[in-house]
């Protein structure tokens, strides 16, 4: 009971978000229109308060896997990018037909709660983010599983309800079934890990693994867990849904899908692999290396041939997952580098740095796409590169944002993506698993070169393409603000804040996989 209470005191940000979600349901279903219109602000407020509370959460006791401060780092990163995501998504339910039909009726005094969408959209938005934060705070396999499910379940609804198109329903169904399959997969993996060690809490699992080594059952459990989590981060072989789902969902929801589940997935992967610690078992390294190379290569090659912007960004997000996988293979810094206090060389720090860098650039790109409409087809969203052509003359700021986002994703200095790639490349270079690390480094740079083809097209078409003249922004000023802020974030993170963020990421991960001696002793006692 005391442990539970102690745990709860570290959960104030999550609890705030949960309360915010409930408040959103209340205001969103309120008969008064003014109250309903408050809903996005309630969501924003609860996220703001939650991020302030991160500072007041008591210093948690040592993380069982050595990730001290992981939840605070993830909370700040996800809430920061999450606020931008909320700004992009704000007003999204208002344009759905069901909502537009119900509002006039509500004004005439016949409010039908079943038709109101606002409450559930923002509540689910907050719940999914809560899940992401709780993933980082997990200390037990059951908790981890529930947190991961909390990330995904709301997104199915968010996809299905926010767009008047059968495509949205189709992608929600696809996402749901594949998500269920992947959940079954990593749950099976978790069960095998439990079977191999006899524990569900990380401290004891890790201590047991230290004592008895990595048993075959443990390896199978890890492999299944990794494969299942690949779905969350959209990595090969679980990537097939991404293009269809991203294309079908409303653009702000797509932006959400490209960031929040990916963060949750990578944090979960860090935790699951942290159970055995680095260097990882050979089988797992091979698996991760194959996944990484296939993911980045396939993602990039398929992104090059896309003509639809959202599909291209979907494959880009797959490719970026491939880069991030390298950090998992490299693991935390070798001891020598760990003591020097430098973040470079630490693969897990690279992941933690790269995630917000990728998130900001991706949110910026999606925000621009979401803010634009084309006249061609009755005010539809922009779809292809051609729709962007020549836009820079009329919308220099939006196109500048898009260019910065594209250049950061391709990894051009001095933007955040460059620092991230330096960290990933540096960590894989030092991982010392020759000749694999050289091959992986080669794959990373070759893929960066391939990715230049489509990112450049994204960034430069607005400047140099012939003028389409059918595209225009539609007045969602918040999306402009979100896009601009995200672009500023990318620049600032690359130029000024790179060092503190990288150091923080390093501090969180430098002891990863190093189990305190007492824990091993305790596990030995309890197993006797």
């Amino acid at each position: 009971m005391e442990v539970l209470l102690q745990k709860i005191t570290t959960l104030w940000p999550e609890i705030t978000l949960l309360l915010g979600a409930i408040s959103c349901l209340v205001t969103g279903l309120h008969p008064s229109r003014a109250a309903r219109n408050l809903t996005p602000w309630v969501a924003a407020l609860s996220m703001g308060v939650a991020s302030l509370l991160v500072a007041f959460v008591p210093e948690p006791t040592a993380h069982p896997l050595g990730y001290d401060g992981l939840s605070a780092y993830i909370e700040l990163a996800v809430l920061g990018v999450g606020l931008l995501l909320l700004a992009v998504a704000a007003g999204l339910p208002d344009v759905v037909k069901q909502h537009r039909r119900s509002e006039p009726a509500a004004d005439r005094g016949r409010f039908e709660p079943a038709d109101a969408l606002k409450g559930e959209f923002y509540a689910f938005f907050l719940l999914s983010i809560t899940g992401c934060l709780m993933t980082a705070g997990a200390s037990d396999l059951v908790w981890l599983f529930l947190a991961l499910e909390l990330v995904s379940l709301p997104t199915y609804v968010m996809i299905a309800t926010t767009r008047d198109s059968s495509l949205a329903q189709e992608s929600a169904i696809k996402y749901f079934f594949l998500g269920a399959m992947s959940a079954a997969m990593f749950l099976y993996g978790f069960a095998l890990i439990y079977g191999a060690t006899g524990f569900t809490d990380f401290a004891n699992i890790s201590a047991t693994v230290q004592m008895q080594g990595v048993t075959p059952m443990m390896t199978v459990g890890l492999v299944l867990a990794v494969l299942g989590l690949c779905f969350k981060v959209a990595a090969v072989p679980m990537h097939v849904y991404a293009a269809d789902v991203y294309e079908g969902a409303a653009t702000p929801v797509t932006a959400f899908l490209a960031f929040v589940p990916k963060v949750a997935g990578f944090v979960a992967l860090m935790i699951v692999l942290g159970l055995v610690g680095w260097p990882l078992p050979k089988a797992v390294v091979t698996l991760l290396a194959v996944i990484a190379v296939l993911t980045m290569t396939l993602g990039n090659l398929l992104a090059v041939v896309q003509t639809s912007l959202k599909r291209m960004l979907a494959y880009s997000s797959i490719a970026q997952s491939g880069y991030l996988m390298l950090g998992l293979i490299a693991g935390p810094a070798a001891v020598a580098a760990a003591t020097s206090g430098m973040a470079i060389g630490n693969g897990l720090a690279a992941i933690l740095f790269y995630l917000p860098a990728y998130g900001l650039a991706t949110v910026a790109a999606f925000a621009v796409v979401a803010a634009l409409r084309t006249n061609k087809d009755a005010d539809a969203e922009v779809e292809t590169y051609d729709d962007l052509a020549g836009l820079a003359k009329r919308q220099p700021v939006l196109c500048g944002v898009l260019l910065i986002a594209a250049l950061s994703l391709v990894g051009l200095p001095p933007l955040a993506g460059f620092a991230g790639k330096v960290m990933l490349g540096g960590s894989i270079a030092q991982s010392g698993i020759q000749p694999l690390s050289a091959l992986l480094l080669f794959a990373l740079v070759l893929n960066s070169a391939i990715s230049a083809a489509y990112y450049l097209r994204l960034g430069l078409t607005p400047f140099f393409g012939g003028d389409a003249e059918t595209t225009h922004p539609r007045g969602v000023p918040l999306r402009f603000v979100a896009a601009s802020l995200a672009a500023v974030g990318v620049v600032v993170m690359g130029l000024v804040l790179g060092s503190p963020i990288a150091t923080a990421a390093h501090d969180v991960t430098k002891h990863a996989g190093q189990v305190p001696v007492e824990a091993v002793a305790a596990a030995a006692l309890s197993s006797e």
Binding site: G411, L412, Q430, F463
Partner: protein, 549 residues
Amino acid sequence: MSLLLPLLVFLPLIFAGVLRLPLGLWRCRASTWKVSLGVAAATGLIALLLAATFDYGDAEIQMRGSIPWIPSLGLSFSYGLDAVSLWLVLVSAVVLLPVVVLASWGEKLQVGASEEQPGDFAAFLSWVFVLGAALMGVFVAQDAILFYAFFELTLIPAVFLIARFGGPERVRAAMTYFFFAFTGSVFTLAGLLYVGWVSAEANGVWSFEFDALYAAAATMSPTQQGWLLAALLAGFLVKTPMFPLHTWLPAAHEQAPSAGSVDVAALVLKIGPFGILKLAIPLAPVAAVNFAPVIGALACVGVVYAALCAWVQRDAKKLIAYSSISHMGFCLLGLFAFDAGGIGANGAIFYMLAHGLATGGLILCVGIVFDRFGTRDLTRLGGLASVAPGLAFFFVLFAMTSVGLPGLNGFVGEFLTMLGTFQSPTGVLGPAYAAVAATGVVLAAIYLLHLTAKIVWSAPGNALSGPEHTTEILKTKGKLQRREFAMLAPLALGCVLLGVFPQLILGPIEQPVAGYVADATAIANDVEPALANTPIPDSSPPLVAASAE
């Protein structure tokens, strides 16, 4: 005083930002141009101040300084200057940047199909300044990742200059350029990260400062060095460009506006050989010696092949582009000659500077011709000597410099690189390479004289004849404006001055260059093989600083 160097980089960069402020400040073309000229001149003045305070007797890196960037990744804005960098900075900042700004006035900027809009001129100039700043950054960086950052930063302005303001095929040309350069340079980044790791292994601290990397590289095995060299050269040789990685250059030149292609030809090409001298050779000396014959052979093929290509071009600008490729082949030969006296490497650096001045001048002359007569087609021009004597004078001067006429600076560079190649130890390069390269000199004389003869002396082509082109009209058209004189004269002066007094450059750069190629030269000449294992030979002053710190 050490703040002069960051100022040199950031003044143009900040001004470029100011030029893009949406305040309506820059709607007037003339005032935009005048202010830009002022800033270019100020940048030149900073460079002159640097030159005045520089200690030429001291071969170490001077005016060092460091501003933290991302310390936890070992990245810093470390800068410093040796004589090689100083001369590159001087030529770029004092001569080329102001000249490019002067030349910009004559650009008829078209954005797509539409005529020039107010503000386009400011946009054009701002990209010119970004490019200038990035190049200064490359020259003064003392941190490998910072070097790489500026190296990559040259891409974006160059792409915008070509793709936004270039000819009809501009977007294609710009994209080709970007993909070639970016693909090459990501391998350079991988190589730098790899050396960074080797250095971290040795010292326990990640650092990308050149000195730390030089020290670490000496511990690497020849195989490791081979891969490292390949990775580093991938980026540098695309920029140089070396045959067969040169295919982006003719298109980029042809499509770029002439002020833009001066930038590309005279400046951007230089960072390739500069990177080879500064990074590739000192970091992988054994491999550099082992692979020198391969690179030398490709350079020779490039010299001859590009010269033959140049011979058959009808477009004057494309001809000059191919001549650049051919000339940069000499530069590579010099760099990889590793002759005992270091003549080749010194010649290569001198040649880089000479080529920048001469080719820049030629491109500007062709730009003026295009401006007046509406074509660069050799078959449609001719007879410039009678209608535009001023222009013809400069044209012939720059062509002769490129040919390598004794007394002009092209000769010195060509001679030294070939001498170095000739004296190169057996097993590296040698007389055979020099002989092939010498045919390049002959071919250069043929294609450049062909160019000059067609444009300056032969009977007027159809762009200059016909009833509407009376001699009077042509003479008024061909008259050199004061602005044009002001932009050609410094280049011409540079060509003559450095041709007569090559020692101005050769003297100061001798020791630093010797330091960069010391290890490789020692290995190539088999002098005291022990040197190969000592990271910091006493004879290499720039490296001594590393051990002192």
